[in-house]
């Protein structure tokens, strides 16, 4: 303990390195707990709407590029592996290893973000972004339970706030608002013509969540890439040793957490309604 005391890495208010590194990892795990609740709010909103509008959510999900989704999953899990190897190199005090694995991790992170850019711009091209100009595009691929053509089945509901024109007339007001109760019914009922009705507003909700969730996730990745650069600088400056590599270890936890979020996002966003 006495030599731990004299370690140049020990901050003044800790007694020894053991205490210092335990404090760091407890702190980091608590931070991740906080992150879970932060994303949790989004997951909770998603769950509520998914439950209310299952058909619209499948339809929305169908419009996402599953190929890119799978690719990104592999990339991100791969980057988790390389990150774990970077930490291992740090444990063993291999500077070259740290740098190699961190660079690869960062590269994979950038690939992931690049793919997201591609996916997002496809959405923008098709106006499939939430907001006033939202349009639901399925590129004619969307066939529900083999019922044939679907293209006519979209967007009965005026999503904008109806002109408060004739509100005194009860019925008119109701009509303009698209019969509030209709929202409560499952929107995907077969209407007898072999066409499944999907409410465009509900798909817009899906897309809204898609952007919020993947956007939040991507933001975390961007921050992560920034942190890797910082770690690389520190490593190059020989700031780490076998007795002190806490920043790399903590960053590893963060990166894996981001991976875990994706592990849930991928099936929830891309895989519903494929069958």
């Amino acid at each position: 303990m006495s030599d731990a005391h004299s370690s140049p890495y020990l901050a003044h208010h800790f007694d020894d390195m053991e205490q210092q590194s335990q404090a760091a990892s407890l702190g980091m795990w608590i931070f991740l707990a906080q992150e879970i609740m932060f994303f949790g709010g989004l997951f909770c909103g998603y769950a509520v709407y998914r439950l209310k509008f299952p058909e619209a959510f499948s339809a929305g999900s169908y419009s996402l590029a599953i190929g890119w989704g799978c690719f990104n999953t592999v990339v991100l899990i791969g980057s988790s592996l390389t990150m774990a190897l970077a930490v291992r190199s740090a444990q063993l005090g291999r500077k070259a290893g740290i740098i190699k694995w961190l660079v690869i991790t960062m590269f994979l992170g950038c690939v992931f973000l690049g793919v997201k850019v591609v996916e997002y711009s496809a959405k923008f091209e098709h106006n499939m972004i939430p907001g006033r100009h939202f349009e639901f595009h399925d590129d004619g691929k969307f066939v529900v339970a083999g019922h044939g053509d679907h293209s006519a089945a979209v967007g009965h509901d005026e999503p904008v706030h109806a002109e408060v024109g004739e509100p005194a007339d009860h019925h008119a007001a109701e009509a303009a608002h698209g019969e509030p109760t209709e929202h409560a019914e499952p929107a995907g009922e077969d209407n007898g013509h072999g066409i499944v009705e999907i409410n465009q507003g509900e798909v817009e909700l899906f897309v809204g969540f898609y952007f919020m969730m993947t956007g939040m996730h991507a933001l975390h990745m961007v921050i992560g890439v920034g942190l890797i650069i910082w770690l690389l600088v520190l490593t190059a400056k020989n700031r780490f040793a076998t007795e002190y590599y806490t920043p790399i270890e903590m960053f590893g936890l963060y990166w894996h957490f981001v991976d875990i979020v994706w592990i849930f996002l991928f099936p929830l966003l891309y895989l519903i309604g494929r069958h």
Binding site: A11, H12, H13, F14, Q19, Q22, A23, L26, G27, I30, F31, A33, Q34, E35, M37, F38, F39, G40, G41, L42, C44, G45, V48, Y49, K52, F53, P130, G131, R132, D157, P159, V160, H161, H177, G178, P180, H183, A187, N199, G201, E202, E204, L205, G208, F209, F211, M212, M216
Partner: protein
């Protein structure tokens, strides 16, 4: 930036000692300080400012409410005023009040540590808090926000006037200050305790702060993301809660109250902690049922997460969810009752004295009991139908928040003031102010219970004439109460210069912060690292240093 660890300090005359306040005096030494005690002072100044912001708003709308017509403020201004009052008081005053000031100051001292686990993070929280609060301040100055502190959609996301985005973003940023403070405290309590400081030797304030921190870490992120969703909906047009798309405004309320109900325990648990310390000291006695008080704090923190739906009884939440939430809500009353009864029992066969902190503590017990019991009215389904969003609710939460937490804060501030500043305030003025505050408080908020049951909705700037007398009483009380608060704001700073020197332990209290260091403490808290050998509040077992 290392502080001088002068041992000779111990023997120097008091006025020449070097301590955390005077070892460096540049502005930079304050703004870049990593010392938890200085960060406490930074927070103290900031939250006092926001208390004044909220108080000015309260003053204005209390004047408006003296008459039934809207003649002093216009409707818009009134709405902006109560929003500003609620936002400033909750997010920028009461939530950080005890944790970020007394908590910051005392946690390391009480557990015998040199600092909190992450001093840099600690400073960062103050910056986050200040930046967040500046966003809110910007919103207030630039035309205000009129959503109420609850930011209900779709009003806030689509229809509201003013800078909703700036205000919600401010709350978002300040939320992270709260989260990181909680994180820091949990790690500190786990990892930084002095040798011998076992869990059941911890002062009860630490237990309370620990429970609070759990809520901060697990609850606050949800309000952060909720605020972000509002910003996305209002700013980017992403319809998350938009009913026109089939979105659900009640979902917003769930997310909001998932944080904001537990947050009311962020706002009261530290107060409970303070009261336990004060009662023990001024009864010279170990707190009755220490373990029960300790665990009831944790119980409140945990149960507090299960009850948020009691704010949604009339919001079109399902009848069955209402039942569940009402049922669970009643369970919070039990651990709270345990605390109250244990405090009362501590007086039994004690050696009770009535200095200012104790007067506030006794006031706290009485007023919080009233506030808590009226909470039971609100959690009773059938009654809440009538009382929801009336002045009864306003009275309830001022009883728990002002009568409870603000009094607890004042109690703690007076109790540790000698430790924090090395000076003693004028006891006569302080006792007088505490009585004024107590009287003014009741005069302000008791009539609101009556006018609430009569049916006056809250957030009304005009109201039927026959309720004027009650509202007038309330305004009159507010001026008495305000006078009391202003007195405190005068004599405490005054004591910094003119107050008597306190000496290390003016109350002859037990606890490391009193017995093991000077007043004010030196920069690294203790001259030699303390080793703990006895339980907290061992008044009877002979005191080592007095």
């Amino acid at each position: 930036m290392s502080a001088p660890g002068v041992t000779a300090n111990e023997v120097a005359p008091e006025e020449r000692r070097i301590h955390y306040l005077n070892w460096a005096t540049t502005v930079k030494s304050w703004l870049l300080t990593l010392d938890h005690k200085r960060i406490c002072i930074l927070y103290l100044c900031t939250i006092t400012f926001y208390f004044l912001v909220g108080a000015v708003a309260a003053t204005l709308f209390r004047i408006e409410l003296m008459t039934p017509q809207g003649d002093f403020l216009s409707a818009e201004i009134y709405n902006k005023m109560f929003t500003m009052h609620g936002v400033a008081m909750i997010f920028f005053f009461l939530v950080p009040s005890i944790p970020a000031t007394l908590g910051n100051f005392l946690i390391p001292l009480m557990i015998g540590a040199k600092d909190v686990a992450f001093p840099r993070l600690n400073l960062l929280t103050w910056y986050l808090f200040s930046i967040g609060s500046l966003f809110a301040l910007f919103a207030i100055i630039n035309g205000g926000v009129d959503t109420g502190w609850t930011f209900y959609t779709p009003y806030s996301s689509t229809y509201a006037n003013g800078h909703v985005i700036a205000a919600t973003f401010g709350v978002f940023v300040a939320g992270f200050a709260s989260i990181l403070t909680g994180l820091n405290f949990i790690v500190t309590v786990h990892k930084m305790r002095a040798p011998g400081m076992t869990w059941f030797r911890l002062p009860l304030f630490i237990w309370a702060a620990y429970a609070t921190s759990i809520i901060m870490v697990l609850g606050t992120p949800v309000i952060a993301i909720t605020m972000l969703l509002i910003i996305a909906e209002r700013g980017l047009g992403i319809g998350i809660f938009d009913p026109a798309l089939g979105g659900d405004p009640v979902l917003f309320q769930h997310l909001f109250w998932f944080y904001s109900h537990p947050a009311v325990y962020i706002m009261i648990l530290p107060g409970f902690g303070v009261i336990s310390e004060v009662i023990a000291c001024f009864c010279r006695k170990r707190v009755f049922g220490y373990e029960f008080i300790a665990f009831s704090s944790l119980a409140i923190a945990i149960i507090g997460f299960f009850v948020w739906g009691h704010h949604l009884f009339v919001s079109s939440q399902s009848v069955y969810a209402g039942l569940i939430f009402s049922f669970l809500t009643f369970f919070v009353g039990v651990p709270t009752a345990i605390k109250i009864f244990n405090w009362v029992a501590t007086l039994y066969k004690g050696s009770v004295s009535f200095e200012t902190p104790m007067l506030y503590a006794l006031g706290f017990i009485g007023l919080f009991t009233v506030g808590g019991l009226t909470g039971l009215y609100l959690s009773t389904l059938a009654i809440d139908i009538h009382l929801h969003d009336t002045y009864f609710v306003v009275a309830h939460f001022h009883y728990v928040m002002v009568g409870g937490m603000v009094l607890a804060f004042l109690s703690g501030l007076h109790f540790w003031w000698p430790k924090m500043t090395g000076r003693i305030y004028n006891e006569t003025a302080a006792k007088f102010a505490s009585v004024i505050v107590f009287i003014g408080f009741n005069l302000t908020f008791f009539p609101q219970f009556i006018v609430g049951y009569l049916g006056m909705p809250r957030r009304y700037y005009e109201y039927p004439e026959q309720w004027q007398l009650l509202q007038l009483l309330s305004s009159a009380g507010a001026s008495v109460l305000g006078f009391g608060f202003l007195m405190v704001l005068c004599y405490l700073p005054f004591s910094l210069v003119f107050g008597k020197r306190a000496g290390p332990n003016p109350w002859r209290a037990k606890g490391l912060e009193w017995e093991e260091t000077t007043s004010p403490p030196i920069a690294h808290n203790f001259v030699k690292n303390p080793i703990v050998t006895e339980e907290a509040y061992a008044y009877t077992k002979g005191s080592r240093h007095v």
